[in-house]
Amino acid sequence: MTAIESPMPRSVGRILRPRTRQTLLLWCFLAPSLVIFLLYRVIPVIWNLVLSFQYWSPLKAAEFAGWDHYEDLWFDDVFWQALWNTLIVIASAPIGIALALGLALLVNADIRGRNVYRTIIFLSYPLMTVAVAIIWRWMFDERVGLINYAARTFDLVDKPIPFLNSFTWALPSVIVANIWQMLGFYMIILLAGLQNVPRELHEAAAIDGAGALHRFTRITLPLIRPSLFLAFVIGMLNAITSFDLVYVMTGGGPGRATEILVTYIYKLGFVQTKFDSAAAVTIVFFVLLISIAWAANRFTGGNAGAVETE
């Protein structure tokens, strides 16, 4: 693709508009989005940053606290458990993406009725997360859940598995529900990438005797790296958007088995009315996500624009 970066040809610029007028106009186009992100993202993050260095509660005057809250976090093993669970949820995104890539490849093959398959698989995304949590809380139920019922009829298991009440199975169950909801969205993004892989490349490689797997790794994978990166970023944001799923399905239980940072922030702030330590956790979580995104960006070689054209 041609590099879009090149500024407008010198000659044309002088006739139409002085460059400053042009950049001013571009900033006006950016203004509404920037204002909204400023109001509802940037200012709250700064508010949290300031708060994390104070002893603050809705009714008492604020006083400077220095690094106390961060120090408390260091000794707070619930925080480490929540951090560990959050990293597991983020690490589970590639599993979902791999599944979605498989489905995208299948749907991309020219078979009849592929639109119907595509719609069915995407159907779970418009569902409300709270509704998904209710459905899956029932599916995983120990006594009457569908999964235990199926497992017992095919006698895969003699005693029903208490999915949401066992320390080992709770987090995987939440991740399964999350993948079930996000599968369709990942598939659509990866399908976008696959569509742009030119068909001739595959034919040429096939003629040269390259096996399917060889062609997949050498041609398809490199070319859809931008969509993989976009899917991973959205998968990573699941650590934020699956708040409703964890809160309704298990409430962070049993014990702290499914406590993720974002439910811990909500509990610290609104149940224990400790907004200052919740702010500290927010800042740590924000820095964590930024670093993971930067690392992923570096690893996949694309530059900052997730959907950059180069």
Binding site: V12, R41, P126, V130
Partner: protein, 271 residues
């Protein structure tokens, strides 16, 4: 790509995936229609006596029409602003200018902000704007989303440069270029944005919960919370409500899914 391979393993795998995706839907629909207690064991595959009375129950026990109107109004405001602002931002990002990388980094980092932590400052800001307990206040946080800005950016990049330069030579002002050249070519990116913005604003739960104070400004998802509350049991009414909240999103998606899928496929990422 898979020309020579037999078709049936593909169909077999896709049908399997389809079943896994559809079983929860089917169960919710079955329970909302037949209403035998979902905790009855063994669960019956086919619903026994089918009756629509749970839907009527939901319609009357919460002001469904009013919640529906609020949800639709907020979603329309959110979708319209979303498309307008994202298109403008996407267009601006196709041009090189001094602060471009800084803006890109800002957008990317804004995606990483956990919403649960921004409730109180967001509420205070909306309060200062005087938009508390109003449709505009409910829709404002969703008026622009970063993923859709990038979708617009790549679909605008796909428009050949020569077209734009020719229009500029003819002396077309900037916004006319967008209106007559850029937008028609990225109709699918618009469809993507409409569907995603609608889904996200329709299913928004925490922001309306905190923001609305009077009962008649609440949106549909808040009605679900009411069913979850004093009717903690799992009879058909709760599932009938899930279906009624889900239906509009599905109808819109099925109607616009041709452009939507095309939007994500052709415009999103130019290889």
């Amino acid at each position: 790509m898979m020309g020579r391979y037999p078709r049936w393993p593909i169909h077999f795998a896709l049908i399997g995936a389809g079943i896994v995706m559809l079983v929860p839907f089917y169960w919710v629909l079955k329970t909302s229609v037949s209403g035998e207690n979902i905790y009855a064991y063994p669960p019956s595959i086919v619903p026994r006596h089918i009756h629509p009375f749970f839907y009527i129950d939901v319609w009357y026990s919460i002001p469904f029409a009013r919640y529906f109107l609020n949800s639709v109004a907020v979603s329309i405001i959110a979708v319209v602003c979303n498309v307008a602002f994202n298109a403008m931002a996407g267009y601006a990002l196709t041009h090189g200018f001094r602060g471009k990388n800084a803006v890109m980094l800002l957008f990317l980092s804004c995606m990483m902000v956990p919403f649960q932590a921004t409730i109180i400052p967001a509420y205070l800001i909306t309060g200062k704007l005087g938009l508390l307990d109003s449709w505009l206040g409910l829709a404002l946080p969703q008026c622009s989303t970063i993923i859709c800005i990038f979708v617009f950016k790549s679909s605008f990049d796909a428009v050949p440069r020569s077209l734009i330069d020719a229009a500029r030579i003819d002396g077309l002002p900037e916004w006319r270029i967008i209106w007559h050249i850029m937008l028609p070519l990225s109709r699918s990116a618009i469809a993507t944005n409409v569907i995603l913005a609608f889904i996200w604003s329709w299913n928004n739960f925490l922001w309306p919960l905190i923001m609305t104070r009077s009962a008649d400004m609440q949106t549909l998802p808040l009605g679900l919370a009411r069913f979850l509350s004093y009717q903690e049991d799992t009879t058909g009414a709760l599932y009938a409500f899930c279906i009624m909240v889900l239906a509009p999103g599905l109808v819109l998606f099925l109607m616009a899914q041709k452009e939507f899928i095309q939007g994500l496929t052709s415009g999103a990422t130019k290889g």
